[in-house]
Amino acid sequence: MAVSTIVKGPSPTRRAPSRRRRSRYRGSEVAWGVAFVAPAILLFAVMGVYTIGYGFALSFASWNGFTPHWTWVGLRNYTGLLWNDPAYAPIVHQAALNTLWVMIAVPVLTVLASFPLALLLNSARRFAAVLRSVYFLPYVTSGIALYFAWQYVLQPDGAINLLLRSVGLGSLQQPQGFLGNPSTALPTLIVITVWSAVPVSMLLYLAGLQSVDTTLLEAAQIDGAGWWRITRSVLWPLLKPITAIIVLLGLRDSLQGFQTFLIMTNGGPGNHTNVLGLETYRLAFLSHLDTTLGLSSALGWMLFLAAVILAAVNLRVMRRVT
């Protein structure tokens, strides 16, 4: 009983709470606190809460950004994009399929390219810093300039066709350019997206590799494990959390990113490289003042929902692998 009393009652070592404790904060202190926090709260209220609320409300309306009033349409924007509107639904379906391909290919290829590169860089004895900088260049160079450069390289008379021709692989040339052929345009854009994602992923792997306890590797060597066995059975399992992060980042970028697609193809040729992020942008800003801002917002919210589901799935996977 005594124990129960001690547990339930106030701690004898604690001061009496409430009034005395509250009185420790003077009015001036409270005011200063409020003053310091207010800008952040205001900023979040305006840039966060207001815009999120505004965007969510807009997804139930029809508007072009100019007319004084919105026209409320209920769930029509959502149903129209998903199945109900024959003008938009087929385009969204094609964009969703393209996005799915990108979401599968980009994370897988990024891991496949960046992990071996990190292993190589980690084992480099000379020029390691220089090589790291070289491999990081794609990330620090301005994206738009790079995408324009890629456009030139991929044209029918561009460097890649020239290279293929000069090394005797003329049959692999693309007479319409790599972005002009519907069957090569999407894979080409995937490769470019991977190319720009590899530097950060490689750096993450490299950081992981450098933090691996060398005694583990030595123990494996003493047990007779070779390079391949150490990589497969020691390093790869240890770096699984990093792989999970890279995959999540790749999925998120593939789902929502569209700048590569906008600059290089604008979804073309003939909508063959349209993705959901780009379609959202096109409905908002490239629809010639049609009343499609609500549709754009609805598509954006559906993308957000998909991203949340992905994050939840990733969280479960992370828990399992770590």
């Binding site: 005011a31 100019f66 029918p156 008379d157 002009g180 010639h288 009343t291």
Partner: protein, 469 residues
């Protein structure tokens, strides 16, 4: 000092100190609010001595400023012209400026399009009562009504999801600034001569034969460039003029109708598509990946021998170093067995000028617009911008605007044998030419669908727009 007063003083000091930061926040907010309100004075000049005009065409800036020099001498009002391009950037800029009450005095707009949308949103002032018959007499008769809400546009504004909801019959939201048309072929004269071609083709069949001849004499760089990254160009600039010549006005309009016996899914639709498909071997490689400017640039750089554009293309070619004297221009011709033998292109107003509703100098803005409508001022503008003015330049436009622009003006037609790209009355209100053009691209140049499949896909898409009507 009595102790109680000292205490009071201390309390007062604490309270005052406590309030200081709050006061600072409040003052900051008040200043921000004041700044926001002061933004409402608009991008236009508050003094009224300077007018600010926004355009989306870089080539118009210097030309307008050149005209403005004369205007300033005459009235004392100066004009500052600012370009924001391309079109979508311009629209976003206007949208943002409208939200912050920071619009300029004047805007260059796409006539019978953006002007009505802006007008419906209350961004523009109605010019109907200001533009009298004396003013209108300066313009060519075909374009005098452009910028005015006619019954057709008013009825369109009443449909569901219309972007011009709110405009009223008879209102005028812009006056013409440039006129022109789509569907003009620019050909490299030297290359044509090298291929043994000395004159412009007069039929579609001759045109295709000329394409073959040039391709034979110039295997690389002998094709057609067109900015198909904007897919509507293939549809509206290339196929439609030919289809109009092939079928005549009524059957042409029926292609966009709901009747499956006459629309794109019908044999006439397949015939149109197959005729258009004759150019497939002659596209410049990769033209489907180029935007409009890049396609024009490819022509200027000699990567193609033919370039499909509009009257506005010449200015861009000249800007990029192509000698206008080396250009042969001709309208997309009709097939020899077509319904129209003497197909020509009718001009329509491409861009107009509008006065914003927030201008502080409406009278000055109107003065500027009236000045721009004068024949000599518009000729000065046309020569500098290499764009066609909407004014009547007399029997010999060559003398006023030079031989190349003059030749284009002389080639304009009217009546049923002239295809007018500005007439969109046969299309549903929700029509999206970019999406329709993407479907057409699958037939040519991409060759992923047959003519019949493409016709069926076009009909399905167009029917979905009609369903919203």
């Amino acid at each position: 000092m009595a102790p109680w007063t000292r205490r009071l003083g201390t309390v007062m000091t604490h309270r005052t100190r406590a309030r200081r930061p709050l006061l600072a926040v409040l003052v900051g907010l008040a200043l921000a609010a004041t700044a926001a309100c002061s933004g409402g004075s608009g991008g236009g000049s508050p003094s009224g001595k300077t007018l600010v005009m926004w355009t989306f065409k870089q080539s118009h800036v210097k030309a307008l400023q050149k005209v403005a020099e004369g205007f300033t001498k005459e009235t004392g009002i100066s004009v500052t012209v600012q370009a924001y391009g391309p079109d979508d950037v311009f629209l976003t800029k206007v949208q943002a400026a409208a939200k912050t009450h920071d619009l300029p005095d004047l805007l260059e707009v796409h006539t019978n399009g953006d002007d009505f949308t802006f007008g419906a949103a209350g961004l523009l002032t109605d010019l109907a009562k200001d533009v009298d018959s004396g003013w209108l007499d300066n313009y060519l008769s075909q374009v005098r009504v452009d910028g005015t809400v006619t019954d057709q546009y008013y009825q369109q504004s009443l449909t569901k999801d219309s972007k011009t909801k709110g405009i009223k019959l008879g209102q005028r939201y812009s006056v013409p600034l440039t006129i022109g048309t789509f569907g003009i072929v620019y050909a490299n004269k030297q290359r044509l001569t090298a291929a043994g071609i000395t004159s412009a083709p007069t039929t579609w069949d001759d045109f295709v034969a000329d394409l073959a001849k040039v391709k034979a004499s110039q295997p690389t760089g002998g094709g057609i460039s067109l900015g198909l990254k904007a897919p509507s160009t293939g549809l509206e600039w290339f196929m439609q003029p030919m289809a109009y010549g092939l079928l005549g006005p009524d059957r042409f309009r029926a292609l966009w109708g709901k009747d499956h016996a006459t629309n794109f899914s019908a044999p006439t639709g397949t015939q149109v598509l197959e005729t258009y498909g004759q150019v497939t071997p002659y596209w410049m490689p990769g033209t489907q990946s180029l935007d409009i400017d890049a396609a024009d640039l490819a022509f200027a750089q000699g990567k193609s021998t033919f370039d499909i554009g509009g009257t506005f293309t010449l200015a861009f070619l000249a800007q990029n170093g192509f000698d206008p004297a080396n250009v042969l221009t001709f309208p997309i011709p009709a097939p020899a067995n077509g319904a129209i033998k003497d197909l020509s292109l009718a001009p329509f107003t491409l861009t107009g000028t509008s006065v914003s509703a927030t201008t502080k100098n409406r009278a000055g803005a109107l003065q500027w617009l009236r000045y721009l409508a004068k024949a000599d001022a518009s000729a000065t503008f046309a020569k500098a911008a290499l764009d066609i003015p909407p004014t009547n330049l007399g029997a010999d436009p060559n003398a006023a605007v030079g031989p190349v622009l003059g030749a284009m003006i002389n080639s304009f037609g009217s009546g049923p044998s002239a295809y007018n790209p500005g007439d969109t009355t046969y299309r549903p209100q929700a029509y999206n030419s970019g999406d329709v053009g993407s479907v057409l691209m699958n037939y040519t140049p991409l060759k992923t669908q047959s003519a019949a499949q493409t016709g069926a896909a076009l009909t399905k898409l167009i029917n979905s727009y009609w369903a919203k009507q």
